[in-house]
Every structure is written in C-alpha cells, then in structure tokens.
Amino acid sequence: MRLRRLELENIGCFSRAAFDFSDTATVVFGENRTGKSTLVYALFFAIFGRHLNTGLTAKDLCTKGEPSGGARLLFEEGSSAFRLCRSTDRLPTLHEQPSGQTDWRPVRLNDPEDLRRLIPLTPETAALTAFFRESELIYFLQDIPKYNKTLLQSLIGMDDILILKSRFKKALAKAREFKKGISKVTPPPPPDPLEVELARRQLAKAETSLQEVEAEYRTRVESTAGSPAVTRLLQQQYEEKRKLLEQARRQKERSPSLKQLDQKRSALQNRLSAAEPIRRSVETLQQRIGSQTNEADRIRGRMEKLSRLEQDSSCPLCEQALSTDRLSEIMAEMAERSALIEKDRQLLETKLAKNRKLERDLEHLKTAVHEIEDRIRNARRLEARIAELEAQTNGLQSDLSSFNIHGMDVPENTQAGLPSEKEPVRLETRRRNAQEAIIHNTVLLRQYEERIQRKKENQENLDVADRNVLICATACQAFEEAVQMLGSRMLERVRRSIEIWSRHFTFLHRFDIQMTDRELLPMIQAKGYHYKLNQMSKSERIFLYLMLKLSIGEALGHLGLFILDDPADGLDHKRKQTLAYLLAEVAKKRQVIVTTNDPVFADLLSVPLRIDLSSAVL
C-alpha cells in the first residue's frame, strides 16, 4: 500500500486540508498545536475508520462544533489506484482507477472482506506495527498481559482461532457420540452356519417329500378313475338326486300353475281397487252423521231456552213483555226442523251399516291376495329347486357317461380298485407334515438372512462411524498442533526480525534482548545482571520499542507503512542523528511519514518531501 494524498474536511484543526506523500519518506513539520498528531490520527481513521486511540471514537476526530468530518485517502495497491472516502457518520465508499485508465470505478463494499483484500490487517495489529506514538511508551512499561493473554496471542487473533479449535473439538465429540450410539444398537447374533445348512437341507427334504406325496395322489386318482366303487358311488348319488327331482315335479303338478295364480291375483287386486270408493264413502257418511247430530243438539238447546222464555214471558235483556204466540210459532218451527234432521240421520246410519259390511268383505279379499302371493313365491322356489336338481342329475349323468359305464349294474359291496381307508389318511398326514416343514424352514431361513443382513448393516455403519471419528480426530489434532506451532512460528519470525533490525541498533548491544515463549514481552538483561525496563533511559526505551515494532511488523504485517508521531521528542542530538539514520534505513523498505516540531531533526531527515503544516490547505 502506497499513500499518495490525504484530504481532510472538519477533522481536528483542519476545516479543509490536503497532504501529498512521498513514496519513500515524508516529514510533517509544525509547531505545537498545528495538527501533527491529528494528521497521524486522520491517517489511521482514513485507513481503518477508527480512532488510533482505543479510548476514543471516530466522532472525537471532528472539528469542534462540526457534526461530522471526513477523510479521503488516495493510495496505490498493485497496479491500481484507489480512493477511499470515510466519514464519521456515513459508510465508507471506495473507487478504483485501474492502471492506464482515467475513470474511477466504484467498488462494492457490502462485505468486510471486500476491504480486507486491500487492507489485510486488523486495526490493532496496524496500530502496533505501522504507527508509533510517544504516548505508547507508558503502556510498553506494563509487563502484565492484557486479559491474561500474551500480546502475541491478542495480535494474531488467537480468540477466533481458539473458538475455531473448540468447534473442531466439539465436532470430534459429536462423531464419537454418533459412534457410541451405533455401538449401543446391538444386532442379533449371526446364526450358526450349521443351523442354516440344516434348515436348508430340511427344507429341500420337505419339498421333495411334498412332491412325492403329490405324485402319489395323482397316481392314485388315475388308477381309481374307472373303478366300480366310484361308479357305484356316482350312481347312488344320481339315483338320490333323480328321486328328489321326481318328488319336486309331482309337487309342481299338484299345485296350480304360476300363470293361474297370477291371473287370480290380478282379479283380486282389481276388485280391491274397485272397492276403494266404498272405503272413502264410509268416512264421508261418518262425518255427515256427526254434523247432523251436532245440529240436532244445537236445536235442542235453543228449544230449551225458548221454553224458559215462555215461562218468564219477558226479555232477560230489555225486560219487555214477549208475545207468547210468536214463541209458540218459533218452537213449532224448531220441532219440525229437528224431526227432519233426525230422519236424515237415520237414513245415513242405515247407509253406513251397509257400507261397513262391504268394507269387511274387502278385508277378506286382501287376505286372499296375500295367500296367493305366498303360493306364487313357493311355486317359484319349487321351480328353482327343480332346475338345480336337474343340473345335478345331468352332471352326475355326464360323469357316469364319461366313465362309460352309464346304466351298468354295479354290485353293492365291491371294494376292488379303491385304496384302503388308511391309505388316504397316511398320504394326507405326509402332505400336511411336509407343508408344515416347508413353512417352518422357510421362515427360519428368512430370519437367518435378516439377522445376517442386520449384522452386515450394523458393521457398515460402525465402519463409517469409525472413519468419521478418525477424520474428525485427525482434523482436531492437526488444528491443535497448528495452533501450537503458530505461536512458536510467529515468535521465531519476530526473533529473526530482531536479529536483522538489531544490527541498526548497535547501542542496544549491551542488552541481551530476548523474546520469551510465554509472552511477547522482551526480557531485557544486561550482560551479567538483570535490568528492568524502567531502569533504561528514555532514548533506550524509544529505540527498543521502535526495534520491537519493526520486528513484530515483519512477522505480522505492516501495510508497507511506518507512521511516527514526534519520535525525536526528548532525544539529544546524537540520538536524533541515530534515529534519522534508522528511519532512512526503514524508508528503504516501507513508506515513512514522520511528524516533528524539531527543525534540527527535520533537517537531519534528508527526505524528498517536507510538509509545513501552516501551508497545508486545499
């Protein structure tokens, strides 16, 4: 990464400012409170979007009174130029200008990995390896690892690596658990091969036996087919059926035919339907008699009232005198009407009695119809029975014909040609036994096969689980060893870098500087007796710290930058010369940016570009 230009807006004391940087080394010169440290912080913010001081936020970089500030960094990486814009209140944007082109092309920053390809270092590591602040020396004197971790562990992101290691361990535990689960599933023991062979042989024997029995059956049936005993049996059956058939036919002749019965039933049904109006007229007559009776009762009631009026001779409502003649006249009318109603009622009752008699006759008709229907059903059953018997006698007749002895007189007690009574029983028993043996041995063999199959599947699953455990264990072991080796390899790299860089720090030779395995803290020993860091002079501590920064940077990465904020503060002229020489050596490998308020030191640094902060405005 090569920094080209930094443009600031509302950052610290810079409302608007721009700084160009040299490829090798750039000195930023300025008096106190002209923004030297702010420039270093702004560079860190432009690269990582954070404050270099971990106790502060990016917002703390803003100019006092301004809501936000921004930085635009132009840098080169590979053959392309990039423009990274950061703001204290917005997401960053990145543009790329490929080599030989003039257009800036936007680069998507949806994923943190997009930017990590260009800046492959964490802010913490970069703060240690690519930036120097005089204030860091205070922390450098503390020799207690932070959060019980060594500096190296925290720098190489050991937390993430340890989390990953524990996940690999858990994956191994999972594989072992799975294997344990499979081991617990105990399949039934595989069958004894002798048992299997025995079952196979018994099955084969039973099958052979069954075939023999079947063959014997066939032979016996063929040999007894034309025998007189069988014929006699058939003839007996034929005779029985024939007799039954004749009986049925006689019964049919005795009873009227189906046609006659049908005709009779039709005639009766016609009569029944013709008598239907009589039933209805009975109902009508009953209603009429009821209404006549009611009317007679009503007239009788009125006549009683009139007779009471005749006795009182005055109206019960208006109490006026009534004419007895008129009352007698009304009474006579009512008596006449009542006599007429009575006469009608008698006529109707006579008619009703007549119709009821007809109705009883109808009931008899209905019973007769039911009887005829029963007879029809019986006649049909008889016909079906006759047909069945005819079919049976025909079948038997045809069997007898096929034996070619139809009509042959067979002696009653002939037994010749028939097997003895015990023979079929013996054959049947043999057949049943053979069938049972076949079923038993087939089931047995199937069970054996299932047991063998289950054992095989279980073994396969166990093999797979074993292999999985082996793979997980190998991965886990390799990862654990890699993590252990990582620390020692990193330390080895740092040690090698110390050897290289210590050549430039000859005045530190009287110290025996070692990096311990336990933590990345230098064990500073004078030749022969112990020294403590705070017993070193300030210049010695500054140089020791610079050397360690450069060495660790070689091991962990440094982005090709070394940015120092006032490193010459408190050094005498000789040490300033040494520092200037040292930075010139560093500038051969990295891009160096140094701020100072010391004009002598600035002159000692014979660098191609010098920025005077008083003129750094856009």
Partner: protein, 60 residues
Amino acid sequence: MATRKLLFDIFHQRIEALAAEKGLSNSEKETIIEALRHAMANPYMSEDQIYQELIRRKSD
C-alpha cells in the same frame, strides 16, 4: 491476514503428515482441508456444520 495464512499453511502440513500416518485417503484429506477453509472464511460456522463438512464423503 498473515497469521491466518500461516495457520492454514501449518494445518496443511500437519494434515499431510497425519494423513500418511493414519492412512487417510486423498479425498478425506481434501475434505478436512476444505472444512477448515470454510470454517476460517465463515466465523459463524457452528460445530454441527463443521462436523457435516468433515464427514461429507467424496469419491476418490
């Protein structure tokens, strides 16, 4: 990052050595390396997912 690359390189070397020692096939070796590559690229990968990655079978 330098450390991650170094870790991966060391892991690769260790796997080569352990695979030869324990008789792992090439595909099994590749499966383990792929599993670590995925696990390092995805910090949210759980142990279950790592396990599934590790036991994934490939034909040789």
